[in-house]
Symmetry: C2
Subunit: 337 residues, 2 copies
């Protein structure tokens, strides 16, 4: 192999990304940077956050420059090296891009990984990666579950949501999951041990509001929000006093030109509730703690994490759009080697 296929951002998407916003190009394999290495990316994480990075709006990371490959967390092997800490063949996790080879100067996000402790290196993009850690810190440090409380999770069958619900059960909470379609709702109950599954498909905001109310007659003590829109509106009319809403994502509106946000913000005053915008980057120095706890729960059979692995860099666009169509059945990962 002498070529480096790269999935470039050519145009900032307006609404739903379309194939012409991107271009797959083939370039020479990059040179080894001084003190760094070239990484062969095997698995790239596909996440809703990437849609945000494609926009030209202030965010916690700069927008992906037009003409650059789409930024992505990746795991792979060192292909060529000028750094003794990263010998050729060793496995590494880094914030790279959707491309076969990336020149890396080790930084904040660069970590050697021990793939011997997992059944697939992809686990470092799911259980041991952002998915498990987002669920862990969002629940333990922000939502702070107490025995007997009620937790509602939206995007519940998704990668983060399914782990959030399982952590709620570990802490003795009643867990309500909201997901799209009967099969996802079945998985919430059968695979992840949720108490109640609510299918949002085909339901109005008022119907959702009523259904959540029936499932949580004393109100929601915690909401772990991945979706936004009508689902969030329906939830805020069912808050218990002093409810905590962990705002992890708003996938329903990432492709929207007009932002929906939260119209019924006044319900926060009524319930003296709080919303906490949440990113795991602040917790970087505690990742080992979170990763170890997730690994232990998995070993004890208390947490199950599913992956949806799509193959081939030439299929990136279709794979990415599974996030927004609701097709993905677990952490979405692109295997490119």
């Amino acid at each position: 192999m002498t070529q480096n296929r790269r999935f470039l951002l050519r145009r900032r998407p307006h609404g739903d990304p379309v194939p012409d916003d991107f271009e797959l190009v083939s370039e020479p394999i990059p040179h080894v940077p001084e003190g760094g290495f070239v990484m062969r990316n095997h698995y790239c994480s596909l996440d809703p956050a990437q849609r945000g990075w494609m926009a030209d709006e202030p965010s916690y990371m700069p927008p992906i420059p037009l003409g650059d490959a789409v930024r992505a967390t990746s795991v792979g092997q060192v292909h060529a090296s000028d750094n003794a800490d990263f010998p050729v063949g060793s496995w590494v996790m880094n914030l790279n891009a959707i491309e076969e080879f990336t020149p890396v100067v080790p930084g904040h996000f660069t970590a050697p990984i021990d793939v011997g402790i997992v059944d697939s290196p992809s686990k470092f993009l799911s259980a041991m990666g952002a998915v498990g850690l987002t669920a862990y810190f969002g629940m333990l440090d922000v939502a702070k579950p107490k025995q007997g409380e009620t937790l509602c999770v939206s995007g519940a069958a998704g990668a983060v949501g399914s782990v959030v619900g399982q952590i709620g059960k570990i802490h003795g909470c009643r867990v309500i999951g909201i997901a799209g379609g009967t099969e996802k709702c079945r998985r919430l109950i059968d695979d992840y041990g949720f108490d109640v599954a609510i299918d949002y498909r085909g339901k109005s905001q008022e119907e959702l509001r009523e259904e959540i109310g029936k499932a949580a007659p004393d109100g929601l003590d915690m909401v772990f929000e991945n979706v936004g829109g009508d689902i969030l509106e329906a939830e805020v009319f069912n808050l218990a006093k002093d409810a905590r809403i962990v705002l992890c994502g708003l996938i329903s509106e990432y492709n929207s030109v007009e932002k929906h946000g939260l119209q019924n913000l006044w319900q926060l005053i009524v319930h003296q509730a709080s919303i906490h915008g949440f990113l795991i980057m602040d917790y970087a120095d505690r990742f080992p703690e979170g990763g170890a706890q997730i690994a232990q729960w998995m070993a004890e059979g208390k947490v199950r994490i599913d992956e949806d692995v799509q193959e081939g860099i030439e299929n990136t666009y279709d794979a990415f759009m599974r996030l927004f169509s609701g097709k993905n059945t677990g952490k979405l990962i692109l295997k490119i080697a």
Copy 2:
């Protein structure tokens, strides 16, 4: 006096309240309830919260029943009594209604007051009442100001906002106030010691966003929100990391049929910021602490609290609407005796 004039809610307002939503009636003075007393209301508090109580929506208090007088915090004197703790002529504060006489069975909100310590009994509806206490607990317990931080207050020339800003200054913060009109902005600087005053009148959301950004180049660490709408949208694009937004009120939308809320909710994720719905009712057992601190700050000349006293129960509607037209210049109070 043998009659009791009462300001009744006849119809739930749709959008802006209109005169026909109310009726001023004259009824006999009520009988003394067993173990209670009849209170002659002297001052009634006029607050944005009353607009919420007129609606038929779930809230922290039941809606005002149609045909009842409009609920209001009042101070007045005992007119007739069947309770030795409340002798005739003694001064009392209670959650009553806009009416000359109210039959009272002492409850959670009933408190004897010592009018000898203030220049007017109305102070128990401003400095020593909900206004001072809302500013005190909202700042000290929710916003938690730190020396050198930047605070932005909307509705800054209003009753609560002006005290919030002064508490920010006491804690060594840079304080930005947003208000409507040059005269209000002048008062922010000259009367209340704010560092920056921003006049929102005639400005688009984008212009406000830019103006706040210039006044707070390192971002807003705290927002004390009384208004909502475009002002809140402009603020959330200027948050510092880990910003705290105290959501005290949303007066811009109390008369709106469609709720605006917060469209750019995603900015909370970007800045890892939080919004806290806030009511002072939870702090009832600490009201003496808050009242004492406010009284001390006033005595030391560190806090100034203005009142806008309107007279006559027959002028209730016009007085109440001053809240929404921005005409009031301090805590709005109706004097009816």
